[in-house]
């Protein structure tokens, strides 16, 4: 019995190490495939992602001081949906005056460019969409808490 146990343990040890080595290459394959499939499905090339990253850095820099190089923008799959995951290492939030200054500088630039009626309209639609989503979420929360209450009863 003891011998058999020992034998299994030794064998198991070797199997484990083998498996780990296998998994590393398997994991690279899986991760590479995920990225490529995201690109295929969304049509977002690495070039476009990089452009998006840069524009996001520019936009967010108005509000927070961050590690620009460490900003990560990835496409991730969650079930049927593709999500854009953004991870920003924030060094510190900017104070009000800094934000104001950045926004004003931005306004000036915009005015210098073309008329910005369209962009304002777009902003508005985005806002209303956001609000709707938030409201929906609240509803869902209420529903779920209600359900819990009922189950307690």
């Amino acid at each position: 019995m003891i011998l058999a146990n020992l034998y299994n343990k030794v064998l198991g040890f070797f199997r484990q190490t083998e498996k780990e080595a296998e998994e590393s290459s398997k994991d690279t394959a899986r991760n590479r495939l995920r990225v490529v499939l995201m690109q295929d499905r969304t049509n977002l090339t690495p070039e476009l992602m990089e452009r998006m990253r840069k524009e996001l850095v520019e936009l967010l820099s108005k509000y927070v001081e961050m590690d620009k190089e460490a900003l990560e923008l990835n496409l991730e799959q969650d079930g049927d949906q593709v999500a854009l995951m953004l991870s920003i290492p924030v060094i510190r939030a900017k104070d009000e005056e800094e934000i104001k200054a950045a926004l004003e500088a931005d306004k000036k630039e915009e005015e210098e460019e073309i008329s910005d009626d369209d962009t304002e309209e777009e902003n508005n639609t985005y806002k209303s969409a956001d609000n709707e989503e938030e409201e929906e979420e609240k509803h869902e929360d209420k529903n779920s808490t209600e359900e819990i209450d009922e189950s307690k009863k």
Binding site: T28, R32, T45, P46
Partner: protein
């Protein structure tokens, strides 16, 4: 410089065209040749994955044809070897996005700057195949020792023979399993060569290392220990014109086999 344009084709899918392309291309570049690989599998590109270049593609062959960029801009340099480039296929278009004439034209232009232009052909015998073959003057037909693959290879050889531009074609037998051949459960290399009556340029053994090398996006010719890698290196040397004997695949490779061999060698010495 006037480069050689070689199309790598098979008829049947899944026999290892793209793997062969990636490995021969890498091996030729390692031998100091300037190599460009063209993926003509529009809509189903994979050569970029095998080379680990999938994140570096900015422009594709369709961008070149539709004049959104210059030909040179679309060539993706390999990570390790500056002699090696890839002209990627577009993933979002179909086979009609590039014509035979356009591919011919691209090959002609590339001939000036490269020693070898390797064209990765899509499976099948439709327009994709016709396009890939259009600019080539040589062909490598990839097959495996299986009935369906050999039958499709025969069909491809027939089509190649009818093409005036193709001056020569060679056979590459992939995924050979010496153990199965030994037990008469697989057609031997000789069987396949005899059936297809074609010149042989390579015999590649089945190698699990191919799976891990594909996972990592690194062609197996970079792995000095791999038998398949050696076999692919030999193919490249034969393409350059060297006379390289075929590997003896029957030689036992396992650790136990090596120990056995070592002891049998000792016995021999005692006599």
């Amino acid at each position: 410089m006037s480069g050689r344009v070689i199309v790598i084709t098979s008829g049947k899918g899944g026999v290892g065209k793209t793997t062969t392309n990636a490995n021969i291309g890498t091996a030729l570049a390692k031998a100091g040749k300037k190599v460009v690989m063209i993926d003509t599998d529009l809509g189903l590109r994979n050569l970029d994955l095998l080379l680990g270049l999938e994140n570096r593609i900015v422009y594709t062959i369709v961008d070149v044809v539709e004049e959104r960029c210059k030909l040179k801009q679309a060539l993706v340099k390999d990570k390790k070897n500056p002699n090696l480039c890839l002209l990627a296929a577009a993933q979002t278009r179909d086979k009609t996005a590039v014509t035979e004439e356009q591919l011919k034209d691209i090959c002609e232009k590339l001939k000036k700057d490269f020693d070898f232009i390797l064209v990765d052909c899509p499976a099948g015998i439709e327009q994709g195949f016709q396009n890939a073959v259009a600019g080539a003057s040589e062909a490598i037909v990839v097959t495996t020792p299986e009935m369906s693959a050999v039958r499709d290879a025969d069909r491809i050889i027939g089509l190649l023979e009818a093409k005036e531009e193709i001056k020569s074609y060679k056979l590459l037998i992939n995924r050979v399993r010496p153990n199965l051949i030994k037990s008469n459960d697989m057609m031997s290399v000789d069987d396949v060569v005899e059936i297809l009556s074609a010149d042989l340029i390579g015999i590649i053994p089945e190698d699990t290392g191919i799976i891990t090398s594909t996972n990592k996006g690194e062609p197996i010719v970079n792995d000095e220990k791999s038998l398949a890698g050696k076999a692919y290196n030999n193919v490249a040397r034969r393409i350059i014109g060297e006379d390289v004997p075929f590997l003896n695949l029957e030689e036992p490779q396992g650790v136990m086999a090596k120990i056995k061999k070592f002891f049998s060698g000792l016995k021999g010495g005692e006599k």
